[in-house]
């Protein structure tokens, strides 16, 4: 082999604390290194050209670049060596920026460590073999998981782009959190007026198949060829027959159930259509409250249903959808306000969440759009809003900012004044976060035009006194204690990961952070990609987002899917495991431990052997560390390569 080593200055990022010229010079002592140089910016066009030129001039057959993390520029340099005629896997990187120059100022130690990292890269490269990807076909269907505004946008954009879309929604209607909102900031236009048409588009789009009241059960396969098992939960209503007329809801004798759509501040019937604009507008029976299920007799809905759609014996059904890509848009859930015991959420009926307040404001809500407090139905006059309940609070393990609460609280104070002109709103806040277009102006209007009184400080406690709620807190700007007699307390409950998000992430084989939000591939440069090829993110499942951000991500994820599907064939990553059939004894331990079922047993001249299914193998290497005789080796991370790295570091 003829190896070239290129040691990057990265401007002063590396050169500042690493003597790159010395590293290059030392690299020349390594086996098979015939050329070594330092370079200003290896990734720049002249930098890449320099590598390509050296490959040609010096007849290099392998290249080591010592620069930043391979997680950043490995693909860049692989393409560069490929342009020079080498196989792109005849390339290794030494990470002397993130792992060296940026974590210490000791130039001598950094230089020495950089030499070591180049040494192991060279030893690994010496044992690299050219790898050639194989091609496989793509199933140009996409699944969108979650029918909130982000999922709707992604589904519509993909469908408009000509793709078949399967939209899976856990609830009986799409719409998500946005469907529950009364108005939206900063324009104060009607939420259902702007979302409704999009929901109808979903229903009517010929390319979209909607599985509502359904969940993803399991996911197999890989980019281009996923197999998703979708569990369609039993609705006990045949949706083919249901017309959404609502006759059943009128007659249902079980009327006092907490209405999930109304955030449990209003009642609903056991057979229910959550809201008038629901898509699909179909009824669902809740078997935990339905008298037919609970007591074994009733059958009223079955009697009144004009189409005979009621099916008490319905069971869950699994359908398999084959798709080539998946967009996760599972949104968020609200922080449980009862965890902040000093505010009394969950104990006092007049301490509610912001989303519950939205339902009180909404014309389709339980109060018909009249603000009536839950305890006694009276119209509140003094309303206290408390910000950051379950956000920016380390003691609750919720250190992050939920982002949109400042804005919706401002909106709610404005709407309150509109509904009850003689009302007074108070807002306890930590900081006002309003960095969007027209956002800060909007909060100003709430204060200046609508007279909302903003008090900077935390609330210490909320307790009842007669029919009032006493809110006691600090005004840190005035440096005083404040006590307000409130008729209603609205808590800006923070956003948290949707229930079941980690479990879905595990099925999708994507990462999630410690709060359950899904991890994007790169926080800046790959915000909607994940580390699993063919799986994309949209909306609040990645972190709290407001509506325009969610819509933007929905479209971005759709664009990624469309770009992926612009090719008829995909290339598989050739960094997969391979079986040396001579050494394999057919014990099947690799088959047992492979998480992807990517290894199968085959007969070879009458003997059992293992065989890797190329397109299924993901390249984790569990099989390689399981096989005792080293018969199955993960390409590019072979035992020999790792041992060579170890030996390079531990020379006796």
């Amino acid at each position: 082999m003829r190896i070239g080593v290129f040691v990057c200055h990265c401007g002063s990022n590396i050169e500042g604390t690493v003597d790159t010229a010395t590293v290059a010079k030392a690299s020349l002592d390594f086996p098979e290194v015939v050329y070594a140089t330092d370079t200003m910016y290896a990734c720049s066009e002249p930098g890449q050209d320099g590598i390509i030129q050296a490959i040609k001039d010096k007849n290099l057959t392998g290249v080591v670049v010592a620069s930043c993390t391979p997680r950043m520029h490995e693909p860049t340099f692989r393409r560069a060596v490929e342009r020079a005629g080498l196989n792109r896997f005849m390339f290794e990187m030494a990470n002397i920026r993130e792992h060296v120059s940026w974590i210490g100022r000791d130039r001598e130690a950094n230089t020495n460590k950089s030499v070591d990292l180049v040494r192991i890269a060279v030893e690994k490269l010496r044992r690299d073999a050219p790898l050639i990807p194989s091609k496989f076909s793509v199933n140009k269907r996409v699944m969108v998981i979650g029918g909130g505004v982000a999922g709707i946008q992604a589904a519509l954009d993909c469908a408009d782009g000509g793709l078949e879309v399967v939209l899976v929604e856990r609830e009986s209607s799409i719409g998500g959190k946005m469907a529950k909102l009364d108005k939206t900031f900063p324009t104060v236009d009607c939420s259902s007026c702007i979302l409704g048409p999009k929901m109808v588009d979903v229903a009517q789009h010929p390319n979209i198949t909607l599985h509502a009241y359904s969940e993803v059960d399991s996911i197999g396969g890989y980019v281009g060829n996923f197999q998703v098992q979708v569990k369609k939960r039993a609705t006990y209503v045949d949706w083919e027959l249901c017309t959404g007329c609502g006759a059943c809801m009128e007659k249902c004798p079980s009327k006092k159930n907490p209405d999930a759509f109304n955030e449990k501040i209003g009642p609903c019937t056991s057979i229910n259509i959550p809201f008038p604009q629901a898509i699909p507008k179909k009824a669902v029976i809740d078997p935990t409250t339905c008298r037919q299920f609970v007591k074994g007799k009733c059958g009223v809905c079955a009697k009144v249903c004009p189409t005979g759609a009621i099916k008490y014996d319905m069971t869950d059904e699994i359908v398999t959808e084959d798709v080539g890509a998946i967009v996760a848009a599972t949104g968020y859930d609200l922080f449980d306000i009862s965890k902040v015991t000093e505010y009394g959420g969950g104990r006092y009926p007049d301490v509610i969440t912001g989303l519950q307040y939205e339902r009180l404001l909404s014309a389709s809500g339980p109060t018909g759009g009249h603000i009536k407090r839950p305890s006694d139905g009276k119209e509140p006059k003094n309303i206290v809003f408390i910000q950051c309940v379950g956000s920016r609070d380390k003691s609750l393990d919720r250190p992050y900012c939920s982002g949109f609460c400042c804005m919706y609280t401002a909106k709610q104070t404005i709407l309150t004044k509109d509904h009850i002109p003689d009302s007074q709103s108070y807002v306890f806040y930590m900081d006002i976060r309003s960095p969007g277009k027209m956002y800060d102006e909007f909060t100003r209007r709430a204060m200046e035009e609508y007279g909302a009184r903003y008090i900077r400080g935390r609330v210490a406690m909320v307790y009842p006194k007669g029919d009032k709620m006493i809110v006691r807190g600090a005004d840190t700007l005035a440096g005083t204690q404040v006590e307000i007699e409130a008729d209603l307390v609205v808590l800006a409950a923070g956003a948290e990961a949707a229930k079941g998000a980690p479990q879905l992430a595990e099925k999708l084989r994507i990462s999630y952070d410690k709060y359950g939000f899904f991890m994007e591939s790169h926080p800046k440069l790959k915000p909607v990609e994940t580390n699993t090829a063919g799986v994309y993110l949209a909306g609040s499942c990645q972190g709290p987002k407001d509506i325009p951000q969610s819509v933007g991500q929905g479209s971005a994820a759709a664009a990624k899917v469309l770009a992926l599907f612009s090719k008829d064939m995909l290339e598989s990553d050739p960094q997969i495991s391979r079986v040396d059939i001579k050494r394999c004894v057919g014990c099947g331990k690799c088959i047992m431990t492979c998480p992807f079922k990517a290894i199968k047993e085959v007969e070879f001249r009458g003997q059992k052997k293992a065989e890797v299914i190329e397109t299924v193998c993901q390249g984790c290497g569990i099989c390689t560390s399981t096989c005792p005789q080293g018969a199955i080796q993960l390409s590019h991370f072979t035992d020999n390569q790792i041992l060579a790295e170890v030996n390079a570091l531990c020379q006796s």
């Binding site: 993390t69 990470n95 940026w102 992807f596 984790c620």
Partner: protein
């Protein structure tokens, strides 16, 4: 010049690409200062780390080995770190019988976002290894200790006899 004599000890890290290698990158991006001893070998998954790599590294004279993967349930390959956890724990408990201080090996989980955690892990582990000092190789056991052990065994053909 593998290690800076007197300043550094030989510490080898095996990090999974998706979480911990990224976490170490995040620590770098955040300029979280760390000791310079550690040399990182990148592997796709902690499940790729045959415990024998660690045994080999320590028997061959490394002063410390640090393994880090994705947090349990967060493996890019779904299950790799679950296998790793079992195998690495078994190895950790096996080392002392070979005459290798188990404190020379640790394994942990660091996600790609946990730059600060990585800084802490590297710092604490490096200090731990420096407290232990340079490792002795089996070949270099002192003649006195060898004689002591030999005389305890003399005359028998089994460990205890």
């Amino acid at each position: 010049m593998p290690v800076l004599t007197g300043k550094e000890l030989r510490i080898v890290g095996f990090l999974c690409n998706w979480c911990s290698y990224g976490g170490a990158d995040t620590a770098g991006v955040g300029r979280f200062n760390q000791p310079t001893d550690l040399r990182i070998i990148r592997v796709p998954c902690s499940g790729r780390i045959d415990p024998l790599f660690i045994a080999k590294t320590l028997i061959n004279g490394a002063d410390g080995v640090l393994v880090s993967g994705c947090h349990p349930r967060d493996c890019h390959y779904a299950e790799g770190n679950f296998y790793a956890r079992r195998r690495l724990e078994v190895l950790k408990r096996f080392l002392p019988i070979l005459g290798i201080d188990p404190a020379r090996f640790d394994y942990t989980w660091v996600s790609a976002s946990e730059g600060q955690r990585w800084q802490k892990v590297v710092t604490v582990f490096t200090e731990q290894i420096h407290a232990l000092g340079p490792a002795t190789r089996h070949e270099n056991v002192s003649p006195e200790l060898l004689a002591k052990v030999a005389s305890a065994i003399q005359g028998g053909n089994r460990v205890a006899a």
